[in-house]
Every structure is written in structure tokens, then in C-alpha cells.
């Protein structure tokens, strides 16, 4: 009895965490796979089995490939604004006078406390073509104003900026914590040993020592960025103009909850899931092996 309990005990302890995960994540995931083979509007009592037809239709549709292209744009945009930029900002903050660094830390983190919806509305005002501050500043610089939310080119930039503004601070703080965890003695030792430039320090000491943090932020910058940009897309552009701001996550929503094509929506979700999975596998196989973890 006692021995059996000892064997069961670890699983019993994990159960409270595992149970909601099974119910709310893995069960729906399996369910989605199943729905992706159906033609169904979620309410009809007679879902129709169509096999791979949803996938075939999806891969044949222009809007899917447009979404893939846009998702690629968002991924690159967020790698710049939610990975590279916060890293450079954090590296900069560690090198400025400590009195100023406190100011920068709070200033850069502040937008994080707002919700994405609030950030979206804020940008709605900032980017207003007539009374918006952004166009006003452009005109002061002698540049022509932009119809940020109705221009097919700039609208992607507008929604990405709104999401980046809100998400930047969190990644900045995570990366700053990673940077500050590197003992100062190490960079001083490197300096005494002949390492002069900040770039050299970054490449040989800082990046290798915080590679665990960097990989985490790299993956979440893409995944969280693409998920979060849904809110400004939905609130500011509705995926438009002419689907210029749509992406895979938004497409799933449109298929599922605007057009009630549950099967097609599930197929899109599965494809998106596989793309993100690929990213995580690449992370696990390639980057993790080279990363240095403290313990």
C-alpha cells in the first residue's frame, strides 16, 4: 500500500496542473483536428464528413496565402520590435548612469500595464489622419501625412506598432533581468583581458551567457506578437483594408466566428499550430543545444 502510494504520489501532485491542461488545451486540440475534417457550422446537428477537403480549399484560397505572407511580415516586424529592440534597450540601460536607468526602466515598462484594447484605442487617436499626433509630427518634419489605417501598405505597420508598443516593456524587463544576472566581474575581467568594444562584450560574454533568456524571448516575441496583434487588427482595421492586415490567427477567427465555417477554421488553426510547432522544435533542437543555462 505504502509502496504503491509512493509510486502514485508524484502523479497525484501533477494532476491539478495536468487536468485543466488536458481539458482546456489538449482535448480542444484533438477536437479541432476532428472538426477540420467536417463541414459544419457548429450548431447544425448533422456535421458532414468531407475528409481533407477543408485543407484542399484552404491551400487553394488566395486569402490563406495572403494571411501567410502577412503573418511572415508580422513575425519579422515583432522580431525587430519585441526581440532586437528590447535587447538593445536593455543593454543600453545597463550602461547608463544608474539615476537615469531607473527612469528608463519605468518609462519603457509603463505601457505593459495597459490592456491591448486600450493601446489600440490610443493608437486610433494617435494615427487619426486629421487630428492625430503622428501625422502632425510628420508634417512638422515636412513629410506628407499617411492614412495609417486605410492604406493597404501602412495599415500593417499601424497595427504592428500598436501591439509592439504594449508588448515591448515586458520583453524589455525579461531581457534586462537576464542581462543583470550576468556578474559584473565577468565583463570587467573580459575588459582587463583585452576586450575593448561593447559589441565584442555583447558577442563573447553577454549573448552566450543569457542565451536561455534570448531563446525564450525570441520564440515568445513571434508567437505572442502574432496572437496579440489580433486585438488591434480586430479593433482598428477589421482585417482590412482589403485583407491587408489579416493574418492566420485573424483568419481562424473570421472563418469560425464570422462565417461559421468551423471545419475550415479548424483546418486553418491546425496549419497555424503546425507552423508554431515547427518554430518550437527548431528552438529545442538547434538553439537550445548551444544555449548555456546556469544550472
Amino acid at each position: 500500500m505504502n509502496r504503491m502510494w509512493r509510486q502514485v504520489r508524484p502523479y497525484a501532485y501533477i494532476l491539478p496542473a495536468l487536468l485543466p491542461l488536458l481539458v482546456f488545451v489538449y482535448y480542444p486540440l484533438v477536437q479541432s483536428v476532428q472538426i477540420s475534417f467536417l463541414e459544419w457550422n457548429m450548431v447544425s446537428p448533422n456535421p458532414k464528413w468531407v475528409g481533407l477537403a477543408n485543407y484542399r480549399d484552404l491551400l487553394a484560397s488566395d486569402e490563406f496565402w495572403l494571411s501567410v505572407k502577412n503573418t511572415g511580415f508580422y513575425a519579422v516586424f515583432f522580431l525587430v520590435t519585441l526581440f532586437a529592440a528590447p535587447f538593445l534597450a536593455a543593454f543600453g540601460v545597463t550602461r547608463v548612469n544608474s539615476r537615469w536607468s531607473a527612469f528608463y526602466k519605468s518609462a519603457l515598462f509603463a505601457p505593459t500595464v495597459l490592456s491591448l484594447a486600450v493601446a489600440s484605442i490610443l493608437f486610433l487617436w494617435l494615427l487619426n489622419p486629421v487630428i492625430g499626433v503622428v501625422n502632425h509630427l510628420l508634417s512638422l518634419a515636412g513629410l506628407p501625412g499617411v492614412n495609417w489605417l486605410s492604406d493597404p501598405f501602412w495599415s500593417k505597420w499601424a497595427v504592428s506598432m500598436a501591439a509592439s508598443w504594449k508588448l515591448f516593456g515586458y520583453n524589455f524587463i525579461v531581457l534586462l533581468a537576464g542581462l543583470l544576472a550576468i556578474p559584473q566581474e565577468l565583463s570587467e575581467s573580459a575588459r582587463v583581458q583585452g576586450l575593448r568594444s561593447s559589441w565584442g562584450l555583447m558577442g563573447r560574454i553577454v549573448i552566450p551567457l543569457m542565451s536561455g533568456t534570448l531563446i525564450y524571448v525570441f520564440v515568445t516575441a513571434i508567437v505572442v506578437g502574432i496572437q496579440s496583434v489580433f486585438v488591434p487588427v480586430e479593433m482598428l482595421t477589421g482585417g482590412g483594408p482589403n485583407q491587408a492586415t489579416t493574418n492566420l490567427v485573424f483568419l481562424v477567427y473570421q472563418y469560425g466566428f464570422q462565417f461559421f465555417k468551423s471545419g475550415l477554421a479548424s483546418a486553418t488553426a491546425i496549419v497555424t499550430f503546425l507552423a508554431f510547432l515547427l518554430l518550437i522544435v527548431v528552438q529545442a533542437l538547434v538553439m537550445d543545444r548551444r544555449a548555456y543555462y546556469e544550472n
Partner: protein
């Protein structure tokens, strides 16, 4: 060594914000010597080392290394090796890569890098550890890697910031010895920072004692111990610490605050009178005092000696030495001896000491040492009988 590798501080001042760490320092490290910077924590010794390394820049004054003024020169250009207190090994690199780091930066040829590392590894018994990461090493091994990393750099200056403080007592004794041996095979100018006087005495060819950023005394370990320049150095060096008692200079004797008197030979008194101070501090090291049972009045005529009567309180047995607590009036003196004694508590005892072991310091100001001429006295025909009265 061909070129001179001395370090010279001239009127160097260093502040951090409003806090002055080093008011104005003049210091010379001779080419090829082992100089120890010694002082309590916060005395500025690590700052001095960081100024030499170029990790800090002085507010004013000049630092010259090998005759060149190096103010403003970055740490990366100073040709300095440094061993940090926590070793600062790069945790993501193997022992080999840690040691090769500075050489790769200087674009030393691969074969030469391997040769130097092999040589250092052999000397430091690191041969089997070269492919390990620092976290797989013991404290002693890490310390040796840090040393090896500094050696392969072949810089002219070797800086060590409390490198033994993270080792246990046993290892520390060996490491002290190894360091001195190592310096003999790599005779570079070495600056060693510590707050441990035993380390300072064993490693330093000269010791610079610091207090609040000011140099108190610089000299050989014997100098520092036998002729401390002021009360601070006297009290800081030595364990158990020197007995220091305020006294007033009289005609034939000095008086303790509680009314006790200590008769002194004429030569000593005249030295004291010459300096013109009424109130001075008397210092005697615990091992300079001899402990006798009962009241002794007659002591050896030469060398001139003193005797102090007191009351035995208790002994602390430490193995190699025994420390005795003796009450003299309201003062408590420490005496150390090799052998334990069997005195009853509160029994009368007499302490004797040769006058050449007496130290006097000014009681005010910088508490400077008052030089005595007692050592040069020739024996007189008349035996000098010295008697002590204490406020017992």
C-alpha cells in the same frame, strides 16, 4: 625583466559621487616586487587595484606604469592580468577556452596558445581539467584556473584581489605558498589585495597598510610589525592585538589613568619628553610580555626592562599559544605564551618586558609613533632596577 614595470601613484584622488574613497595617495610599487595592499574592508584597497587595472579612473593625480602615464588608458590596453575575488571564470567556456580567451583576442597563433596553456596547466596541475566547465570544478581548482588564465596572458603586471578568500583554511595555507613559488617562476610586478594580515605577512615582500584611502605605512613585514608607524597599524597587525594603554608622562615614570605608575628607564623617558607630549599611548605586544607568579620587584638589569603588577583573570588555550588575561588597574592586558600556566584566578602576577619592545604613540592627531632610543643603550655599571606600581 628588461623594462621597468613599476607603478607610481602621485596625488591620486578617487571619489564615487559625494563619497571620497581615496583623498590623495602617493604610492610606489617597485618593478617585480610582491606588494600587498592591506587594510580593513572599505579602506580603498580594491579601488586602488581597480585604478591600476584601468577599471576605474582617478578624479585627479597621475598613475604611471613603467614610466608611462596611464590616466585615461582603458583596462584593455594596460597589459595587466587580474585575478578576481570570485575568479570571474566565464561559465560558458571550458577551462581551456577560459585560459585562451585573452590570447585569442590578441590574435596569438593557435600553436602558441596551446603551448602556453599546456605549460601553465602543468605547473598548476590542471592538465586533466582543461575540457571541463567551471561549474564542474572545486573551489581550489577554480582558483588555480583563474591564476592560470592570468599567467598565460604574460602581462607585466599581476593583480590579485583577495584571491584566497573563498578557500578553506587548509587550502589557503597551501595556496599562499604556491603563490609565492609561482611569483618566483614568473617574476612580474604583483599587487595583492587582502584584509588578512597572515596572507599579507606571508605573501608580501612589502606591505602597504591602508585606512580610509590613506596610506598608513609601507614597508617589509618586519618593519610593519616591529615598528608600526602609528597606533592604527600597531593595533591592526598582530593577533592577539597589541595592548595599548593611555599614559601620562611624569618625571621618573608614566602614570596610568587610574593612578597606577610605571617606572621607566631614563633613556626611554627622555625620548618621551623630547617629543613634548604629556599624554601618550603605551603599546606592548602580548608576546613581548613575560608572566611571573607573585610580586617581582627586581628584574634583569640589561636590556632595560619594566615590570607591571597585575591580577590573573583567566587563560585561553589555543594549542600553540595560550592567551592570558591580566587585570592591571582598570585595564585588561593580554599576554601570550607557549606554555599554559596553573595560576589561580585573582592571584597576583607580574608582567615583565624588555624596554625595546615598548611602543609609544601620540595620544592625539595622527597617533604617530614616538621613536625611542632605548635599543642603543649600553649597559651601565649600576643595575637598573625598575619597579612598577599599579592601581591594585
Amino acid at each position: 625583466m628588461q623594462e621597468p614595470c613599476d607603478i607610481r601613484f602621485s596625488a591620486v584622488r578617487k571619489t564615487f559621487g559625494a563619497q571620497t574613497v581615496i583623498p590623495s595617495l602617493d604610492l610606489e610599487v617597485r618593478s617585480g616586487e610582491r606588494l600587498v595592499l592591506l587594510g580593513p574592508s572599505g579602506c580603498g584597497k580594491s579601488t586602488i587595484m581597480r585604478l591600476i587595472a584601468g577599471l576605474e579612473q582617478p578624479v585627479s593625480g597621475t598613475i604611471a606604469m613603467g614610466g608611462q602615464i596611464v590616466n585615461g588608458l582603458d583596462a584593455s590596453e594596460r597589459n595587466v592580468s587580474m585575478v578576481f575575488q570570485n575568479y570571474a571564470l566565464y561559465p560558458h567556456m571550458t577551462v581551456f577556452d577560459n585560459m585562451a580567451f585573452s590570447l585569442k583576442l590578441r590574435k596569438v597563433a593557435k600553436a602558441e596558445i596551446t603551448r602556453r596553456i599546456q605549460e601553465a596547466a602543468e605547473k598548476l596541475e590542471l592538465g586533466s581539467l582543461l575540457q571541463r566547465k567551471p561549474r564542474e570544478l572545486s573551489g581550489g581548482q577554480r582558483q588555480r584556473v583563474a591564476l592560470g588564465r592570468a599567467i598565460v596572458q604574460q602581462s607585466s603586471y599581476f593583480l590579485l584581489d583577495e584571491p584566497l578568500s573563498n578557500l578553506d583554511a587548509q587550502l589557503r595555507t597551501n595556496a599562499r605558498n604556491d603563490l609565492v613559488e609561482l611569483h618566483k617562476s614568473y617574476p612580474r610586478t604583483m599587487v595583492y589585495v587582502t584584509h588578512d594580515q597572515v596572507e599579507a605577512m606571508t605573501i608580501g615582500q612589502r606591505i602597504a597598510v591602508l585606512r580610509q584611502g590613506e596610506l598608513q605605512q609601507i614597508g617589509s613585514p618586519e618593519d610593519i610589525y616591529m615598528r608600526p608607524a602609528n597606533r592604527f597599524v600597531a593595533a591592526f597587525m598582530g593577533n592577539p592585538p597589541m595592548n595599548i594603554v593611555p599614559v601620562t608622562v611624569g618625571d621618573q615614570q608614566v602614570m596610568f589613568a587610574d593612578g597606577g605608575e610605571l617606572a621607566l628607564p631614563e633613556s626611554v623617558l627622555s625620548s618621551l619628553k623630547r617629543c613634548g607630549e604629556q599624554h601618550v599611548l603605551l603599546g606592548i605586544r602580548p608576546e613581548a610580555l613575560e608572566l611571573w607568579e607573585g610580586d617581582r620587584t627586581v628584574v634583569k638589569p640589561f636590556p632595560p626592562s619594566i615590570a607591571i603588577r597585575g591580577e590573573f583573570i583567566r587563560s585561553e588555550y589555543l594549542g600553540a599559544v595560550v592567551i592570558h588575561h591580566i587585570a592591571v588597574g582598570q585595564h585588561r592586558l593580554l599576554v601570550s605564551s607557549a606554555a599554559p600556566v596553573q595560576f589561580k584566578p585573582h592571584s597576583n602576577v607580574t608582567l615583565t618586558a624588555s624596554c625595546e619592545h615598548l611602543h609609544f604613540f601620540e595620544a592625539a592627531g595622527a597617533e604617530q609613533r614616538i621613536p625611542l632610543t632605548v635599543q642603543h643603550l649600553k649597559p651601565k655599571n649600576q643595575p637598573e632596577q625598575v619597579l612598577v606600581m599599579s592601581g591594585r
